[in-house]
């Protein structure tokens, strides 16, 4: 049923690609959890329960990895032997860094003014930019097989992810 040697894609019976059918992933995930979840073996021996916990943990990990575009890309690149170097490689195009700084200033500014509407606008703009990056990532990985180029896009997405976290905490601060 569960084979640790399988890739996350194989686990859910999906093709190894960045483009992904969310609905098929969800259905496969639920079907698999319905078999392995610890609730199914709560009445069995401790060893069975431990096994269920490990299996269910693995299925959750695989699902979370494939569900998130940035994690999915990172995982696909790792399968192809590419490290995305998010901690070590800080070389970024200047215009990207400039736009990131502008974003951040705008978020800090909205937070200071307690302007929820401005934050909403920033959040939706950020989502659009993220979606565009993800589209290019699909082309780079699935069509061009340009993994080095894809790694750069993953690093950019990591910036967007941090930006999303900052917008989230700005909402929280305004709420407080």
């Amino acid at each position: 049923m569960l084979d640790a040697a399988k890739t996350h894609f194989q686990l859910f019976g999906l093709e190894s690609s960045f483009k992904l059918d969310r609905k098929r992933l969800e259905e496969a995930y639920r079907a698999l959890q319905a078999e392995v979840h610890p609730d199914k073996s709560a009445h069995l021996a401790d060893s069975e329960q431990r096994l269920a916990m490990q299996r269910s943990t693995l299925v959750n990990e695989a699902y979370q990895t494939l569900k998130s575009p940035i994690r999915r890309a990172r995982y696909l690149l790792a399968l192809n032997g590419i490290d995305t170097q998010e901690e070590t490689n800080t070389a970024m195009p200047v215009d990207f860094l400039m736009s990131q700084m502008e974003w951040r200033e705008a978020v800090a500014d909205a937070q200071k003014r307690r302007d929820v509407a401005a934050l909403d606008r920033l959040a939706s703009g950020m989502k659009q930019d993220t979606a565009r990056l993800e589209e290019s990532l699909a082309v780079k990985i699935d069509e061009d097989r340009d993994y080095e180029g894809a790694a750069l896009l993953v690093r950019k997405l990591r910036f967007m992810e941090k930006l999303a976290e900052e917008i989230g905490s700005a909402y929280d601060e305004i709420d407080n």
Binding site: H37, D39, A42, M53, E61, Q64, Y171
Partner: protein
């Protein structure tokens, strides 16, 4: 029972393969136990027909313990030894409790861990006090279901952290309960609602209990309950509304620094006023304090709403956060389920209705829905459900992190991760020959360790000595389906498992639990007697009901002496009920049963005649 009891074919109670399991809602103010009987989840009542057990425990100097209504009724008599709302202390330290001068208890000063209370019967931890409540519910369940439980699902607030969850599980162990699962209260409510109404779509569960507030966002689809986000405040509930009224009374009457008895008295009156205001526009508060001062005030609903406005406001922020974490807008929420007695307050319903732009669902009793859902899940986990089942995917409500240099936290498992979940991280030694290292695990969303909740310090020992930086210690943080954290460590180059010593910040050590278990084993005989007594009382009640009903229905079938005989034995049984002697009750049951054999035969003959006369047997009500 000799008296004719007709039951539907296929509705026989407890076929032998049915495993007895219950759901327990261990609440701040009230606790309940429920079980699935004949396919339906029902709350199990005590011998007086009461469903709710007040979560109140009173300790006596002779070691006696009273739990529930009796303890609650006398709470202002002996406030220091009558513990209410103990759930607020679970997994909590003294500094979390707030202003202890507002509370009538004596706190044991020593130790930095979980608070301990000094009572007439000695120092008690909140775990032991909660275990007393759970024990009463276990005994009630065993008496009512007629056998030993294979286990229970115990509910906890979704926003409970690891220490609070562990404390709850420890309390169940102390009470002799096998915990099938710790289940989040809003999720339990969703099960009760969702399975009842075959709902699909995104639902929000707004759960304002006696002392805790939870909001959970779930997606229901084809038998899967998937929690998308949970948020809350584990120190906000109906108690705080009582407190507001209490302060208002003090202000109105220019009172200050009351003694514990008067404090408890006025808090009780405050609560009564709050309940009054759910149906009325004003409530009168009257009391006579120990110094003779007379309190007589009228509180209007408008005043109450005004003083409690910011409490309700405090629940709105978690609502917004949960929706944001789930990536959903208010419009995408199909229904809002209200749970917890405090959601009866009209201003709460109005605020939630305004937030979501729809009328919240209140068709299941907000006090019982959590226990009912927990019982349904317990039945599934015990393996009674067969093929017709469902899947529950819950989350961890607060991020888990590690302390890093400079008192900062590094998140290892983010909040709202579906459980079970795990994360492995590698560490290395920084000194030559280093054989031990320490990890500090915290829970919370803030960046500074000091702003998060300390869970435990893990000491890893037995790392093989190597040059600095050569050892690779892989530490795995595993969160199980109860939402509890386990930590494992292994040195990768040698494969040696490092020994881990856990020092919980607010929990009990294994040694303390062992000692408490030892002590409670000594009380096991009392438990058995209590259960036997309850079983006999339950049986007696059922028999008395049946006989009295039959006398009303068909009393004319008996002659005067037969009737007198039955009535004498009926009264004799009633008298034994107030005793604590289960054998005496049993004897009286046998005697009454014997006296009714002939009566049952007469009723049978009558019903057969009526049936032959073309009457519908269901009209006979021979139960």
């Amino acid at each position: 029972m000799a008296l004719l009891q007709i039951s539907e074919p296929g509705m026989s109670t407890a076929p032998h393969q049915h495993r007895l399991a219950v759901g327990i809602d261990l609440g701040t103010t009230n606790s309940l136990v429920a079980s699935v009987r004949n396919g339906i989840s029902v709350v199990l009542n005590d011998e007086h027909g009461r469903a709710m057990l007040p979560s109140v425990v009173r300790y006596f100097a002779d070691g006696g313990i009273v739990v529930g209504d009796a303890a609650q009724a006398q709470q202002s008599e002996d406030p220091a030894n009558t513990i209410v709302s103990v759930k607020r202390f679970m997994g909590r330290g003294l500094s979390d409790v707030g202003d202890i001068s507002q509370l009538p208890y004596l706190f044991a000063a020593e130790g930095q861990g979980m608070v301990q209370l000094r009572t007439a019967a000695g120092i008690k931890s909140p775990v032991e006090i909660s275990a007393e409540i759970l024990k009463v519910l276990r005994i009630r369940a065993e008496a009512s279901l007629g056998g030993e439980l294979v286990g229970a699902v115990i509910t906890v607030p979704a926003y409970f952290d690891d220490a609070q969850r562990q404390a709850t599980k420890d309390a169940a162990r102390l009470a002799g309960i096998n915990v099938l699962r710790l289940l989040n209260e809003p999720t339990a409510a969703a099960i009760a609602y969702g399975l009842d109404n075959a709902s699909e779509g995104v639902y929000a569960v707004y759960d304002l209990g006696g002392g805790t507030f939870d909001i959970s966002i779930l997606r229901l689809s084809r038998g899967v309950f998937e929690v998308l986000a949970a948020n809350g405040d584990s120190a906000l509930g109906g108690d705080d509304f009582d407190q507001r009224i209490y302060c208002w009374i003090l202000e109105r009457n220019q009172l200050s620094a009351l003694n514990p008895k008067d404090t408890r008295l006025l808090l009780t009156q405050a609560r009564a006023a709050k309940e009054q205001l759910t149906e009325h526009d004003e409530a009168r508060i009257t009391a006579v304090l120990s110094g003779g001062e007379v309190i007589d005030n009228v509180l209007t609903l408008a005043e109450f709403e005004d003083m409690s406005k910011n409490l309700i406001q405090r629940t709105m922020q978690p609502l917004r956060r949960a929706l944001r974490d789930a990536g959903l807008s208010v419009e995408e929420v199909k229904g809002v389920v209200m749970v917890g007695g405090a959601t009866r307050m009209p201003q709460v319903q109005r605020a939630v209705g305004e937030f979501f732009g729809q009328t919240p669902l209140t068709n299941l009793d907000p006090d019982k829905v959590v226990a009912l859902g927990a019982a349904i899940q317990a039945n599934l986990l015990a393996g009674n459900q067969g093929g017709d089942d469902w899947l529950l995917l819950d989350v961890i409500p607060l991020s888990l992190g590690l302390e890093t240099v400079g008192g900062l936290t590094e998140k290892i498992i983010p909040r709202n991760s579906t459980i079970p979940t795990a994360r492995a991280q590698e560490f290395t030694t920084y000194k030559d020959g280093q054989t031990a290292m320490s990890l500090h695990v915290v829970q919370g969303e803030r960046e500074l360790v000091a702003d998060c909740r300390s869970l435990a310090k893990f000491e890893l020992r037995g790392i093989p000595p190597m040059v600095a930086g050569a050892a690779r210690i892989r530490v795995t943080f595993q969160v199980d389906a109860d939402g509890l954290l386990n930590v494992m460590a292994r040195e990768m180059s040698s494969g040696i498992e490092a020994a881990i010593e856990v020092k919980p910040s607010y929990g009990l050590s294994d040694a303390e639990i062992a000692r408490m278990l030892q002590e409670s084993a000594e009380h096991a005989k009392d438990d058995m007697l209590a259960r036997a007594l309850l079983e006999q009382k339950t049986e007696a009640d059922q028999l008395l009901d049946a006989v009295e009903h039959a006398l009303v229905q068909d009393g004319e079938l008996l002659d005067a002496s037969q009737r007198a005989e039955i009535e004498t034995r009926l009264n004799a049984l009633k008298e034994t009920l107030s005793s604590r002697d289960h054998l005496a009750i049993k004897r009286a049951i046998v005697l009454l049963n014997e006296a009714t054999v002939n009566f049952a035969q007469l009723r049978m003959d009558k019903s057969v005649k009526q049936a032959l006369a073309g009457k519908n047997i269901s009209e006979l009500e021979v139960k």
